[in-house]
């Protein structure tokens, strides 16, 4: 129990950082109704861009902003592939993600890993400070950061433009009939989403003290896990948009806490990705199974009604 308490701040920090990523996934998966696999690449792109710029002596806030911009560029490419080239969304994301692997290596000077030491550079966030009661504590910073991101998105999706993006995801036919350019909105949503994912990657790389070309592997599944956990736990009580986003962030935190507990129970770390995938698969399947069961019962009723 004592060791769990010791590990908790680290898990919460990581969860909060991944929460930003999960909000990005929420925008594509739930708002736009597009499964975007670009994120596995853009997370690492964000990390790589930010770390290399910090190593070059740039202010870490500007490096973070650059990561956001590079992530948006990645989302833009996926959006163009999907809307202007007619490639299915999933495949568009995979294509961008694959090319990002090469791009990430180029950004990182052809190395798979680039360290950034908190002793040498003024990092925004570092795992070194997780247990300190100070302004540098990553939990504090991430709570503020998440609050800013959620507020900004709440504002944006309440504007005329934001409403039109939501309509694009909810019913593209209706959106076009109401004069909304659905293609440009899909591109915009993908850019926003990947910008946030890359920002999360930039924070994550600083937190763990290095950027790694593989840091985004399976990111989409972790993001989905956070979205689904948030919905399952808070779906009934959190109705408004900003609470839904908050639920996604808390979902990511819960995911990392559970992960920590599972690890402490002696599970092999190599099995983690598989376990995550199984959990996400089960939760995605539940609504489908529920419908199927409900349909069966209804069918039976109709038969007995006829007899």
């Amino acid at each position: 129990m004592g060791s769990l308490l010791n590990a908790l701040p680290g898990a919460v920090s990581q969860g909060l950082i991944w929460g930003i990523m999960a909000i990005g996934v929420y925008i594509t998966f739930r708002v736009l109704d597009v499964a975007d696999l670009t994120v596995d690449g853009s997370l690492a792109t964000g990390g790589a861009t930010c770390i290399m710029l910090i190593r070059a002596g740039l202010n870490p806030w500007i490096a973070l902003l650059a990561a956001f911009a590079v992530g948006m560029a990645a989302g833009f490419i996926t959006g163009i592939l999907h809307t202007k080239c007619g490639i299915p969304a999933i495949l568009s994301g995979i294509l961008t993600q694959l090319s990002l692997y090469s791009i990430n290596l180029r950004i990182m000077d052809s190395k798979a890993n680039q360290p950034v030491s908190v002793d040498k550079y003024p990092l925004l966030i570092s795992s070194r400070h997780v247990s300190e009661f100070s302004i540098e504590n990553p939990i504090l910073l991430m709570i503020i950061f998440s609050a800013v991101v959620i507020s900004a998105l709440y504002w944006f999706f309440g504007t005329e433009k934001g409403c039109s993006v939501r309509a694009t995801g909810a019913n593209p036919n209706m959106a076009r009939a109401q004069g909304i350019n659905t293609n440009s909105n899909i591109i915009l949503g993908l850019m926003l989403s990947n910008g946030l994912v890359a920002t999360s990657g930039a924070l994550l790389a600083q937190f763990q003290g290095s950027a790694d070309v593989n840091m985004g592997r399976g990111a989409i599944v972790i993001g989905l896990a956070a979205v689904i956990i948030g919905e399952v736990v808070f779906g009934k009580i959190f109705k408004s948009f900003w609470l839904t986003l908050l639920a996604v962030v808390i979902g990511a935190v819960l995911y990392y806490i559970v992960l920590q507990i599972v690890l402490m129970l002696g599970l092999n770390t190599n099995d983690l990705k598989m376990i995550t995938a199984i959990i996400v698969a089960v939760f995605l399947a539940i609504p489908f199974w529920k419908n199927k069961l409900a349909g069966k019962r209804l069918g039976k009723k109709e038969v007995s009604g006829d007899a």
């Binding site: 944006f156 005329e160 939501r166 309509a167 019913n171 209706m174 076009r176 009939a177 109401q178 909304i180």
Partner: protein, 264 residues
């Protein structure tokens, strides 16, 4: 006002499912015309409406609105002057958004959507009044998600959305076909009311011949991708369903289409 000149459209070119949906279609509408459109399955009625709305690009021909060639204008841009209601009640509204949000989206049809708030308090009050005036019982459910409304309610809402910002042109694509008879009549009456109130130029597809005769000031009948019958207001006044069927088989030159027409 609206003019279709030799419009052609073939779907699935070069495959076994190749289908010529519009065949040298010509149509000219005057300002304020309320035209009902009938015809059997596959006659090209919906295809004609979709061609006007810009859902797809036509193969050849041109579409002129108020002297402006809109043949190559994308769908979302044409929406600036078009109001549309679809056959499927699911198609015209965003299910995961509230009633008031749907209305607010429709109120901005044809406008640039910027970063000001998506719905204002004055708007909200206006929508409430509007809904109240139509007696749909929706005025107290403004923040209800549209997805849980009945098909009839959704279709009525779609109609309000299509005409909230007065369109130059209203396209009704069998918009009551998916509703039960009573609701269908209600929605149709509501359509008539709005069209009369705003003097909207309207094209309405229906499979109900009585409705086609009763509503509007002109009736056209389509077969095999073009118009085979065009009945003016005076002629339409004394028309019966039997007349219409007879006229149709004479115009199209084949008897069996009668059944197709009646059954569809």
């Amino acid at each position: 006002m609206l003019e279709l000149i030799n419009v052609n459209k073939t779907f699935n070119i070069g495959t076994a499912n190749e289908k010529k949906a519009l065949d040298n279609l010509c149509l000219k509408l005057k300002d304020g015309d309320f035209v009902t459109v009938i015809g059997g399955n596959g006659a090209g009625k919906s295809t004609m409406l979709n061609a006007i709305a810009g859902t797809f690009r036509i193969d050849s021909g041109s579409i002129i609105l108020d002297g402006k060639d809109i043949t190559n204008l994308p769908e979302h841009k044409r929406a600036a002057f078009l109001g549309r209601v679809f056959q499927d009640p699911q198609m015209g509204t965003a299910p995961s958004m509230m009633i008031e949000e749907n209305l607010a989206l429709a109120a901005r049809r044809g406008q640039k959507r910027g970063l000001s708030w998506g719905i204002t308090a004055t708007e909200r009050a206006g929508y409430r009044e509007l809904l109240e005036s139509f007696g749909l019982g929706l005025e107290d459910r403004m923040t209800t998600k549209v997805g849980i409304l009945s098909g009839g309610q959704r279709q009525a809402l779609t109609l309000l959305m299509a005409t909230l910002k007065k369109p130059q042109f209203l396209l009704l694509d069998e918009h009551t076909a998916a509703l039960d008879p009573k609701t269908a009549e209600k929605v149709l009456d509501l359509s008539e009311e709005i069209v009369q109130r705003d003097h909207l130029t309207t094209l309405m597809i229906t499979h109900n011949m009585k409705d086609a005769i009763r509503h509007g000031n002109r009736l056209i009948m389509m077969d095999e991708g073009h118009i085979v019958l065009d009945i003016s207001e005076d002629e339409k006044k004394n028309l019966t369903v039997a007349d219409l069927l007879q006229k149709f088989s004479m115009a199209s030159g084949h008897e069996e289409t009668n059944d197709k027409l009646l059954l569809s």
